[in-house]
C-alpha cells in the first residue's frame, strides 16, 4: 500500500480537524470527497508531510514520514498540489517547474527533460516561457499540476486540482489523472463529484474529520438510489451518505 493510515488525528488547538482516520490506498486514483471543513485538506497536508499528525500511524510509500530520513525519501517521490497555490510571479512556467524539480532533488541531468515533459502534459508548452504573472487562474492551476508531476511521483496529492479549470480542461485533466493512476497512487480532494465519477477508482467521503464512506464510485452511487438528493446519481449517493452520517 502506498498510503497506510491508521487512527490518524490532527488537532489545531481545541479544534480536531482530523479525528481518527483509517485509510489504505494502492496505485490508482483515489477520490476524497466531503463538505467544507470536513478535514480533507488537513488530511492531505499530513500525507504531503507538510504537517505532522497529532496521533495515529501514517505510512507513505512503505515508510514512516515521522523520521527525517524516510520523510525526505518520501518527499522525493511525492507530488503535491495545495488548495491555494502560491507562486513567484517573476518566474516563467519552465523556471517554476524546474525550481520544484530541483527542490525534489531530481538528478540534475534529468531535470530539463522532466520539466519539458511535465509542461507538455498540462498543455502549457506554448506558454513555457511566459511569466506566471501573465497567466490566467486556470493556467496557473495547470502550472501547479506540472510542478506536482514533474518528478513522476509515486504518490500524487491534489487538493482541488480542477478549481478554475474550464470544462474542456477538466476533461483533459481527468484523462491525465487516469493515466497517472496506472502506476502511482493519486489522491484527489475535490468538491466536484463528477470528477470523482469520471476519474477515480476508489472514493472516500469525509465529514467532521472522519471517513464516513469508503468504496468505489459505483458503491457510492448505489447509496443514493433511495434517499439522496441531487441531479447526478453520484451526488445523490454523496448526500445520502452525509445525511446518514449526521443522523
Amino acid at each position: 500500500m502506498n498510503v497506510d493510515i491508521t487512527d490518524l488525528t490532527r488537532r489545531f488547538g481545541r479544534n480536531q480537524a482530523v479525528a481518527g482516520v483509517d485509510l489504505q490506498a494502492g496505485p490508482g486514483v483515489f477520490g476524497l470527497l466531503g463538505p467544507n471543513g470536513a478535514g480533507k485538506t488537513t488530511l492531505l497536508r499530513m500525507m504531503a508531510t507538510v504537517i505532522p499528525p497529532s496521533s495515529g500511524r501514517l505510512r507513505l510509500l512503505g515508510r514512516d514520514p515521522g523520521a527525517y530520513g524516510p520523510r525526505r525519501e518520501v518527499r522525493r517521490r511525492l507530488g503535491y498540489l495545495p488548495q491555494n497555490l502560491g507562486y513567484y510571479p517573476g518566474f516563467t512556467v519552465v523556471e517554476f517547474v524546474e525550481y520544484f524539480a530541483l527542490l525534489k532533488e531530481m538528478p540534475a541531468a534529468r531535470v530539463p527533460g522532466a520539466v519539458a515533459t511535465a509542461v507538455e502534459r498540462v498543455d502549457l508548452g506554448g506558454r513555457a516561457k511566459a511569466k506566471l504573472r501573465t497567466l490566467s487562474g486556470g493556467m496557473l492551476r495547470r502550472v501547479g499540476i506540472a510542478q506536482a508531476i514533474v518528478n513522476e511521483p509515486e504518490l500524487l496529492l491534489l487538493d482541488e486540482p480542477t478549481a478554475g479549470l474550464d470544462p474542456e480542461q477538466r476533461v483533459t485533466f481527468r484523462a491525465l489523472l487516469r493515466d497517472l493512476g496506472q502506476q502511482a497512487t493519486v489522491v484527489v480532494s475535490t468538491h466536484l463529484v463528477e470528477d470523482v465519477g469520471a476519474a477515480c477508482s476508489e472514493v472516500a467521503l469525509m465529514d467532521q474529520g472522519k471517513i464516513v464512506f469508503h468504496g468505489t464510485p459505483a458503491e457510492l452511487t448505489a447509496r443514493g438510489t433511495e434517499h439522496g438528493t441531487g441531479d447526478a446519481p453520484l451526488e445523490r449517493g454523496y448526500t445520502a451518505v452525509l445525511a446518514a452520517a449526521r443522523s
Binding site: 518527499r75 503535491y80 518566474f91 525550481y99 498543455d123 491525465l176
Partner: protein, 511 residues
C-alpha cells in the same frame, strides 16, 4: 485556454543537451540569481554610493591610504539599506507568496533552499560592493603618485556584505510580514551607525564596527599607512567579526527549521556556536587594541612585528635652493609647498646652520588616558618637518589654508632654526628682540602676531611665532628689515648671523 491538446499518456523522452550537466544546487542558485530582488535593486546602492561616498572619496587627495580607508568608512553605510532590505524581502518571499506548503513538502532541506536564495542575494550585493570599490580604485590608480591599493579595507567591506544580507534574510524568514523589510533595514542602519559612533580610544570594543577604518580620532589621515605599512590587525578582527555574525545568523536560520534532521540540527548548532565564538573573540580582540605611534591600531594577538618596519621609498624633492623632500605619496603637494615656503627657503639657503635639505617625516601619535590623541608634532632640528593632515582635498581643508599652515609651521620653523642658531629650543625661551624682529621680518605676515600692547618681556612669542607690540623698537626694526630686497636681507644675514645668534645685535642695528 481555448484549445486543448490531447493528453499524452506517459512521459515523453527527455530532451538532453550534450555537454556537462550543471549540478542541482548550482541550477537552483542560477534560478535564484535570475530572480533576485537585489539584481533589480543594483542601481540603488550604486546611486547611493555615487551621491554619498564617491564624491567625498574622490575629493580626497589621490592617496591610496586616504581613499581606501575612507571607502571602508562609507561603503557599507551606503549599501546597508538596499542590501539589507533586499535580503529581508527575499527572506520573507515564501511567506509573502503563500508558497510555504508547496516548498515544505519537498525533499531539499529548507536550510539548503534558503541558503541558495541568500547566496544569490549576497552575490548581487557583492557585485554592487565590488563595483564601487573598482571605480574608486581604478580612478585612484590613475591619479596616485605612489603606492598601490590597500586590500584589507576592501576585505572588511566585502565581508560585511554577507553579514548584512544574513541579518536581513533571517529577519525576513523568521517574520515574513510586510513590515519586516523596512523595520530590519532601519534597525541595521542605525545599529551600524551608532555602533561606529560609540567607538572611543584605542581600547574600545566598538572599533570592531566594519565602518571603523583606523584609530579613533585619527582614522584616514594622509600620514597613516604611508611611512609605515598598513596594519591589518583591526581589519582581521573586523573580518572575523562579520564572518562570525554571518555564520551565527545562518546557523540559527538552519537550526530554526522545524523537523530538520538530527545531522542538520547538529551541523547548524555547530555553525552557530562557531560563528558566535568568532564574533565574540573578534570583539574581545578589538578591546585589546592600542594605538601604534604611526596612527594605526595594534592588536597584540594578531600583530606581525615585521609590519613595524618603515616603508622604503625614494622621496620626491623640489628644485629649490634648499630642496624640500616629501614622501612620494605627497608629491602632488610639492608645488604648493615650495610656493608657500619658497621665500623662506631662498632667504636662508647657504646661511650657516641652514639645512642642506628639508625632509618630511612621519607624525607620531600617542593615546591619552581618555579619548584624546596627542600628536607629537615637534621634530628636532631644522632638516625635518611633519606635513599637516589638512592637505587640500581633506574635508574642510583648502589650498589657501594649506599654504598658510605651511608658512605658519614650516616657514617659521625654518627661519627660527637658522636665526636662533640651531639651538632653537633653548633660545626660544628668551630670544632677543633683534632675533624676533628678523624672524618677524622673514616670515609671512600671518605668521607674526602684532598687538598694541604685547608684553615682549614675558611673552615674546607664542607657539614659535613672534609676538610684537606695534610701536615697539622690535616691530619697527622688523618693518625696516622686511622692506629690504631678498638679496640684501640674505647678504646682511650672511654677514651678521653669528652676531645675531649671539645676541650682540640690537633692533636698532638692523638695517
Amino acid at each position: 485556454m481555448t484549445a486543448t491538446a490531447p493528453v499524452t499518456p506517459g512521459p515523453r523522452p527527455a530532451v538532453r543537451r550534450p555537454g556537462m550537466t550543471i549540478p542541482g544546487p548550482a541550477r537552483l542558485l542560477r534560478l535564484e540569481l535570475r530572480h533576485n530582488a537585489m539584481l533589480w535593486l543594483l542601481p540603488v546602492p550604486l546611486a547611493l554610493f555615487w551621491y554619498n561616498g564617491y564624491h567625498e572619496i574622490m575629493a580626497l587627495p589621490p592617496m591610496w591610504n586616504l581613499r581606501a580607508m575612507t571607502l571602508q568608512n562609507r561603503l557599507l553605510l551606503d549599501l546597508v539599506i538596499p542590501v539589507t532590505g533586499a535580503a529581508a524581502w527575499m527572506g520573507s518571499r515564501e511567506g509573502r507568496r503563500n508558497i510555504a506548503d508547496l516548498v515544505v513538502g519537498t525533499a531539499r532541506p529548507r536550510w539548503a533552499r534558503q541558503l541558495a536564495t541568500w547566496a544569490a542575494t549576497t552575490a548581487w550585493a557583492e557585485v554592487a560592493c565590488l563595483a564601487c570599490v573598482a571605480v574608486v580604485y581604478v580612478m585612484t590608480a590613475r591619479q596616485a603618485s605612489w603606492g598601490g591599493p590597500l586590500w584589507w579595507p576592501v576585505a572588511v567591506s566585502a565581508a560585511g556584505v554577507p553579514a548584512l544580507t544574513a541579518i536581513g534574510f533571517a529577519a525576513g524568514a523568521w517574520f515574513p510580514g510586510r513590515f519586516v523589510t523596512p523595520l530590519v533595514t532601519i534597525a541595521v542602519f542605525f545599529g551600524l551607525g551608532f555602533g561606529t559612533q560609540a567607538a572611543s580610544g584605542d581600547h574600545s570594543y566598538w572599533q570592531i564596527s566594519p565602518l571603523t577604518a583606523g584609530a579613533f580620532d585619527i582614522g584616514a589621515a594622509p600620514g597613516v599607512a604611508t611611512f609605515y605599512h598598513y596594519l591589518p590587525d583591526l581589519s582581521i578582527a573586523q573580518v572575523m567579526f562579520t564572518a562570525g555574525i554571518t555564520l551565527a545568523v545562518l546557523g540559527a536560520l538552519g537550526a530554526s527549521a522545524a523537523r530538520s534532521g538530527p545531522r542538520l540540527r547538529w551541523l547548524t548548532a555547530v555553525i552557530t556556536a562557531a560563528g558566535l565564538a568568532a564574533a565574540g573573540t573578534a570583539v574581545a580582540l578589538a578591546g585589546t587594541g592600542r594605538l601604534d605611534p604611526h596612527g594605526m591600531i595594534v592588536i597584540p594577538a594578531l600583530h606581525d612585528a615585521a609590519s613595524n618596519q618603515p616603508v622604503r621609498y625614494a622621496p620626491a624633492c623640489s628644485r629649490t635652493p634648499i630642496p624640500v623632500c616629501v614622501h612620494p605619496a605627497f608629491a602632488v603637494f610639492l608645488p604648493a609647498m615650495t610656493t608657500a615656503v619658497g621665500p623662506e627657503l631662498t632667504e636662508v639657503a647657504g646661511l650657516p646652520g641652514a639645512p642642506a635639505r628639508i625632509s618630511q617625516v612621519a607624525e607620531v601619535y600617542q593615546q591619552e588616558p581618555q579619548n584624546g590623541i596627542t600628536s607629537l608634532a615637534g621634530v628636532p632640528g631644522g632638516s625635518a618637518f611633519i606635513l599637516t593632515d589638512q592637505v587640500p582635498g581633506e574635508p574642510g581643508a583648502t589650498s589657501a589654508e594649506f599654504a598658510a599652515d605651511l608658512e605658519d609651521t614650516l616657514g617659521v620653523k625654518l627661519i627660527r632654526d637658522v636665526i636662533l642658531g640651531g639651538n632653537a629650543s633653548a633660545a626660544a625661551a628668551r630670544p632677543s628682540q633683534a632675533q624676533l624682529a628678523v624672524i618677524a621680518a622673514s616670515v609671512r605676515p600671518g605668521a607674526v602676531w602684532l598687538g598694541p600692547s604685547a608684553a615682549d618681556a614675558d611673552a615674546p612669542e607664542v607657539s614659535g611665532r613672534p609676538l610684537l607690540a606695534l610701536s615697539s623698537p622690535a616691530a619697527r626694526a622688523a618693518h625696516r628689515f622686511s622692506a629690504l630686497p631678498p638679496a640684501a636681507k640674505h647678504a646682511w644675514l650672511a654677514q651678521h648671523l653669528a652676531a645675531l645668534q649671539a645676541g650682540q645685535i640690537s633692533p636698532a642695528q638692523l638695517p
